[in-house]
Amino acid sequence: MYRTRKTLFTAAALLAGSTGLAGIAQAEDTIKMGALATLEGAFAALGEDSMRGVTMALEEVDYMAGGKKIELVTGSSDASPDSAIRATRKLVEQDGVQVMVGPLSGSEGLAVKDYAKTQPDVTFVNGTSAAQDTTLRDPAPNFFRFSTDGAQWMAGLGEYAYNVKGYRSVAVLAEDYSFPYTQVFGFLEPFCRLGGKAPADARFWVPIGNKDYSSVIAALPDDVDAIYVALGGADAINFLTQYEQAGGELPLVAGSITVDQSVLGSKGRTRDFVIGTPSAGPISDTWDDPRWDAFVAAYQKRFPDGFPSPTLFSHGYYINTKALLLGIEAVGGDLSDGGAALRAALSALEFETPTGMVTLDPRRNAVADIFLTEVIVGPEGNLVNKTLEVIPAVSQTFGLAYEKFLEYGQVSRENPPCE
């Protein structure tokens, strides 16, 4: 009896030991790349689309960069910082990835940035997380963001709502974490500077994954001109459906992921109701440009069961993955110096994306074009975002000097006050 049991334990120990070592041993001619996205929870559909972007960028180069084979390892989180850190730690410490793309959502990005500081030899490239402070305050030297942040995405929308739509006061409905804070700041700052109002008691903050919006809808004030909504994924669909069913009549102004293809492409009765809603973001479904058309065509061909047109998640992950691959190509696949040369190459990288040229600022955050859009019925009867205006080369500090921009203070529920 003793022997049997001892054998069992030895076997278990060996098994555990060998899996533990597997992460360290790897061939000389491959580079391990991690990709982290929210494949669980309220943002699962968005996470799936993100992975489509990663796949597209990798298949473009046939999983080869700088003469090395790229081996992809996937990690999943549920949009909470805890789970993002657990998944990142597994990718880095267990699977031994040398470069990583991700995460998807704002607070995850803040957590991964902090973790990146403890792993100086691993190069982290953002997915689509768009909280401002991921790169603005106390950035990590090995964290790069070739996609822009949530405040940049709002470029031009505040002015448009005030000047063209003529709105003077808005209610705000957003999820309660760092990314919507960043979006609300990006929208309200110009809106309020022009004279618009968004009183504190007309701002509603809901948790990610909220399903019942009836109490929020009942509390929405009547004396505002519009509602600014910054919800994503299933949350946006739930709110829009319930607001329509409740007979809501206020016009909407939407955050970047509230009326994008992940919502417009869903089946449901929100359709007619969102037509004409202005928004802004890093992509526009109908931008008339050969680079964008080629990207859309490639996406539709590769993923017939994906969204009708790529979302900003597949777009953001595509851009960031592509930047990483270009960087690896530039250093000839040589990461033997702990990735220092790769990071130098990434810092200096300028490249063409489906949405124009991207460069980095000194804190490794992208400077890129932003699109002001409006929801219309597209040629095939589906809802799409029409390009109203392209705002060129939007920087994280809105063109202000870094120190000057910091005076605005950290994004939060009350910033800007806007009374």
């Binding site: 992460g23 990690g75 730690r89 902090d114 760092s178």
Partner: protein
């Protein structure tokens, strides 16, 4: 702390002699002690230490559910609030609260507060039975979740706290994988023995008798409510200590740490592991953590949660007593116990699916 000190005493007075120690137990202890020496940091920290922490929280539920017959969904709430208290009383990097107390004051204060919270939850829910206990503790878990999520003055809302660090003591930084693993092992092992001891103590026997027949115990002059509240206090002590480890492990705490889904995870861990013996929750935790980390490597990344669900479903379907029951069922077939000591007694008990610890209460 006190419970742990009693352990040494318990081993000797509780009728267990060293010669009684099962060789399997010795092997398990050696295995656990040697674990960091043959695994990577990742396996030591994220698999090993995390399993021990989750197992300890589930152990507190096992104490309540297995011996007391009270299924509480609020044990993670106790751990979560304790984790918050460590961030609030001690230091954090967020700039909200962080009173800067030294660790030797923060940790005992937080654990004591957590245990008292556990007792309070007990005081509210002990007069209910069965499904109503589950409902009332679920309500407490949900209320606590929304409270910490919406309170910005104390709990910093959705973002919670980051930058919570364990102290550097004796020149050792306790967040490093190996020291942290042994710290977790010490806590988990201590509480494991404490629970095993409590189950044989007068109090534990009383608790199990109350589980089986509260009316008779009341007629015999036992204070049923007080017994149950004290059990909640002890379980709170266990969960609170694990909560301190949890916040040191993550370095952060946010409402998601104690959300409803996470609370249900703890229930799943305890049920899948087995509620009849204190080892059950740890088995469940190891299975849970391994699946959580590696299911994504086994199958298409869009389907891995299905695998996790299926495994748990299969375990519960084929063995109502969880992994522990599965083991008990397989064991006779493997003939591992051919020459085990109390042959007759054990055989009958195994047939009834009763482990040794439950034997005393029923006999």
């Amino acid at each position: 702390m006190e419970a742990r000190r009693r352990r040494g005493h318990g081993i000797f007075s509780g009728g267990i002699a060293w010669s009684d120690l099962h060789p399997g137990t010795v092997a398990a202890v050696v295995f656990l002690l040697a674990w960091p020496s043959f695994t990577s940091d990742f396996f030591t920290f994220q698999i090993g230490a995390y399993s021990l922490i989750l197992g300890t929280i589930a152990l507190s539920l096992m104490l309540l559910a297995g011996y007391g017959g009270m299924v509480s969904l609020a044990q993670l709430t106790v751990a979560g609030i304790t984790a918050y208290l460590v961030a609030i009383l001690g230091d954090n990097s967020v700039g909200v609260m962080g009173l800067g107390w030294p660790w030797w004051l923060t940790v005992p204060a937080a654990i004591l507060a957590g245990a008292v919270l556990g007792a309070l939850i007990g005081a509210i829910s002990v007069r209910t039975e069965g499904i109503y206990t589950i409902m009332i503790t679920l309500a407490i878990a949900v209320v606590s979740f929304f409270f910490v999520r919406q309170n910005y003055v104390l709990f910093n809302g959705w973002t919670g706290f980051a930058g919570v660090e364990p102290p550097t003591l004796f020149g050792i930084y306790w967040r490093d994988p190996v020291p942290f693993y042994y710290l977790s092992l010490l806590v988990a092992g201590g509480f494991f023995c404490a629970v095993a001891y409590v189950s044989r103590s007068t109090f534990g026997l009383g608790l199990q008798a109350i589980r089986d027949n509260p009316r008779r115990m009341r007629a015999l002059g036992f204070d049923v409510a007080l017994h149950r509240i004290f059990a909640f206090f002890l379980a709170g002590l266990i969960a609170a200590t694990a909560g301190v480890l949890l916040v040191w492990f993550n370095g952060r705490v946010s409402p998601g740490t104690m959300g409803v889904e996470a609370s249900i995870d703890i229930l799943v861990i305890a049920v899948v592991g087995g509620l009849r013996h204190p080892i059950g929750p740890f088995l469940g935790a190891v299975g849970f953590v391994l699946l959580e980390n590696f299911a994504i490597d086994l199958i298409d990344r869009e389907r891995f949660n299905t695998v996790i669900g299926l495994v748990f479903l299969l375990v519960v379907l084929f063995s109502p007593d969880g992994l522990l029951g599965l083991w008990n069922r397989i064991r006779p077939r493997l003939r591992f116990d051919r020459n085990a000591r109390p042959v007759a007694g054990r055989a009958t008990m195994d047939a009834a699916g009763q482990p040794a610890s439950a034997r005393q209460s029923t006999s």
